[in-house]
Structure formats: C-alpha cells, structure tokens
C-alpha cells in the first residue's frame, strides 16, 4: 500500500513564521503521531535565511535588507545563506522520522534521495539537473537549489530552496559573498554561479506549474501519496512558542 503523507500547500508567511512552522512540525513528532509532511511555501516579505553556524554580519548586508524591506532569520539547519525572493523562489520542507525505512541513515545519502525528488520534479518541467554533494542541485553547471537538514526530535527535517526566477543582482545586494569561498571555482563572478527555472526554460513559468511538478517528483521518488492537510492544534501551539525564538535578536544575531 502506498504511504500517505501530509501536504501543507504553499503557505505564504514571513520568515520567522516559516521557520517556526518547520520546527513545530519536527518537534511535535516527539509527543504526537503527526504524519510525515511535505510543505511547499513562499516568504512574504522576501527574506534572507542564514545557516545555524553562519556569522550574520559577515554574510548579510543588513542595511540593504532594511532598505529593501527584506526579513532576516537564522535557521536551525546549517549550510549557507539564502535569499528567499517572494517573486522568484519556492521553499520546501520535509519532515519524517529519522528511522523511516525510506530515509537513509547516512546523511549525504538522505540529501541525495530528497534532492532526487526535486530533480525528478524539474525533469517533468523539461529541466535536466543533478545532485551536487553535499547539498546542492545544479543545472547546466549552475546552482538551482540549495538544501539543508537537521536531525533532532527523532526526525529528519530537510528544507531547501528552488530558484524559479532569480534577480541575481538583488541576491548579491543583500548577501555578502566571500572572495575566499569562490576562489576554488573556475568562475569569475558570483553572479555566474546561480540560475533559475525561468532562465533555463526561457519562458514564463507559474508557481503552480512548479508546485505540481515538485509534488509529482516527491510522490514518485518516495513512493507515497500527498494529501492536503493543515497543522494540528499542537503544532500550532508549538509554532507560537518557536515564533518568539525566531523573532528574537538573541537567536538571529547569536553568531
């Protein structure tokens, strides 16, 4: 029998709320049997999320963020800084027990599996892409998706970004790009490192088209059926609790 997972479909929220929902779904698993979940979502206002270990002052131009009305939040996952453009990006998050037989125990293998869901989805849109360890998906040599996972509360939580239509200049006006980081890549300009679905397809693409392709990709690769659902009451309670954390300067500016 095909597994049934919950789909929480395209909620549009601010940065702190999105991060609080992701953690609430993960944490709820320790006390209630909430279902395996895939969320697809967008950030309004647009936001920068930094990885758990990143130095916010070195990664983010906070003045530019203020100027453009861009939120800044710290994730519970490691990895790099991401610009979540309301008009050009879809984020997904997946939560499942870390002993789920479908999820490899090995972390890189689990990145590969979950990224394969996205790769299959993009294939449906006519886009060839591939997994680039540790945690990226590239198309035509350029990054189209970045992913990050944590394992806590007895679950795997992986979230990631899919660039639908990126304004590269805006990305690099809010993110500070380290000269050291790109030094070992044979690319002169940071602007040449990322691409978007629209750039590859060369025509307009709606968020709905991308969403349905991703849903199909996740269902096929994980051999499950996604059914629309919403947060449980307990998850909503936890969301309110975590919201305080994600809004607090102590959390956001801790590094």
């Amino acid at each position: 029998m095909t597994d049934k997972w919950r789909l929480i479909d395209m909620r549009i929220e601010n940065a702190a709320t999105q991060m609080a929902i992701d953690e609430a779904i993960a944490a709820a698993r320790t006390t209630e049997n909430n279902p395996n979940t895939l969320r697809l979502y967008r950030w309004n206002p647009s936001a920068v999320s930094v990885g758990y270990f990143q130095s916010i002052m070195n990664e983010v131009d906070t003045e530019a963020c203020k100027k453009y009305g861009v939120d800044v939040v710290r994730r519970i996952t490691g990895g790099g800084a991401v610009f979540h453009d309301y008009n050009g990006e879809i984020t997904y998050s997946l939560v499942a027990p870390d002993d789920d037989p479908k999820i490899p125990e090995d972390i890189i293998s689990s990145y590969r599996l979950i990224c394969d869901c996205i790769i299959q989805g993009l294939k449906d849109l006519g886009i060839d892409s591939e997994f680039k360890p540790i945690n990226d998906i590239i198309a035509g040599g350029k990054k189209i998706s970045g992913n990050a996972q944590t394992r806590r509360y007895g679950v795997i939580l992986q979230h990631g970004t899919i660039l639908v239509d990126c304004d590269v200049k805006k990305i690099f006006s809010v993110l500070k790009v380290s000269g050291v980081k790109i030094s070992d890549k044979a690319i002169k300009s940071a602007e040449e490192r990322v691409t978007s679905l629209k750039k590859i397809i060369g025509s307009d693409l709606t968020f709905d088209e991308v969403k349905y392709a991703l849903i199909k990709g996740f269902e096929n690769v994980l051999n499950m059926k996604l059914l629309n659902g919403d947060l449980t009451n307990y998850e909503n309670e936890l969301k309110e609790k975590y919201l305080e954390k994600y809004r607090s300067p102590e959390w956001v500016y801790q590094r």
Binding site: S55, A81, I108, I134, V180
Partner: protein
C-alpha cells in the same frame, strides 16, 4: 580580533575569530556554512577550547570529536584546527 576564513577544497567555508593571551585561548568563535549534527555541539566545542593552551589545540579538538557522536559534514576536525591556527598566525 581578526576573522580568518578558509574554504575547504570540495567542502564548506569555515571561519575563526580567536582571542589569545600568553599562549592561552580566551575565546574562540567558529562560523561558516558547514553542517554539524547536533548543531549545539558548536557551543560545547567553543566552551571546551576556552582556557586551553595553544600547544594543546590539536589534542583538545581531536579528543573532543573522538569522544562524541558528533557528525561533521563538509569539514573535519583537521580543518577546524587549521582555521584556528590561521587565525592565531594573523
């Protein structure tokens, strides 16, 4: 205190900010786009390094990871030692 960055070949970026007085580590902050599971281990590591002699750096870090179930993705204990030493030499 100068922040020193190191891009690990085929790996992640790691940076260190270190305060050292007379051969003793007063404060160490490690940042970057790497992965460490569980994430809170970074605070344990930084606290462990406080008050350690620079000459004991390699041993302290190697022992910290050897005696734990911490998983590092995109970096190794060797890279952490390297970036701290880079910071000290600056």
């Amino acid at each position: 205190m100068k922040r020193v960055e190191f891009k690990i070949p085929e790996g992640k970026l790691i940076a260190a900010e270190v305060i050292e007085v007379d051969g003793t580590l007063i404060s160490v902050k490690i940042t970057g786009d790497f992965f460490m599971h569980p994430e809170s281990s970074i605070n344990d590591l930084e606290n462990t390094l406080k008050g350690q002699k620079i000459t004991d750096l390699d041993e302290t870090i190697n022992t910290f990871f050897k005696n734990s179930k911490i998983q590092l993705i995109g970096l190794s204990p060797k890279d952490i030692i390297h970036v701290i030493k880079l910071s000290l030499s600056n």
